[in-house]
């Protein structure tokens, strides 16, 4: 079971490294915002897995806050790029 979660966390970290490479390379601002969005969704999954491994029920609240508030920054930057804000 421990080996299973080590493999899971390693594969998700590899995906996060791919996203950060796109964050460095990305030619426009939209690519970078999209990389930020994907990183935040990956972080929600990792936080829930860590809360399960540490056996603390209260640790799930952090990922709940991310799921509720995580899209506000992306929408603000998208409105700025559109010229509306």
């Amino acid at each position: 079971m421990d080996l299973f979660f080590i493999i899971i966390i390693s594969v998700i970290s590899l995906g996060a490294i791919f996203a950060i490479v796109r964050f460095i390379k990305g030619p426009t601002a939209s690519d970078r915002v999209m990389a930020l969005d994907t990183l935040s969704v990956m972080l929600i999954a990792v936080l829930v897995i860590l809360g399960f491994l540490m056996k603390r029920y209260i640790y799930i609240d952090v990922s709940l806050v991310y799921a509720v508030l995580g899209f506000i920054g992306v929408i603000t930057i998208a409105r700025y790029l559109e010229g509306g804000i």
Binding site: L43, V62, L69
Partner: protein, 84 residues
């Protein structure tokens, strides 16, 4: 620390250094704002790994929503590109 925490600490430290360098280096200020948001995201994971979920909660709420909105309004009211 278990193995999983060591893996996550190494990955998040690398991401933190890359995003911090990027935020200082760029001339387009929107890119710097996005890099600041990435720094706050990874810093929240660091606080979580150090077993301080209340600080991580505050960092999540302030860093990803409030400070991004304030920086974007500031860039809107001044200008987008830094002087060479």
């Amino acid at each position: 620390m278990t193995n999983i925490e060591i893996i996550l600490t190494i990955v998040s430290l690398v991401l933190l250094i890359i995003a911090g360098f990027f935020a200082v280096q760029k001339k387009d200020l929107i890119h710097a704002v996005i890099a600041t948001s990435v720094i706050s995201l990874v810093l929240s994971l660091m606080f979580y790994l150090l077993q301080a979920p209340d600080v991580a909660l505050t960092e999540a709420a302030i860093g990803i929503a409030l400070s991004t909105i304030i920086f974007i309004i500031t860039v809107r009211n001044t200008k987008r590109f830094e002087d060479k």
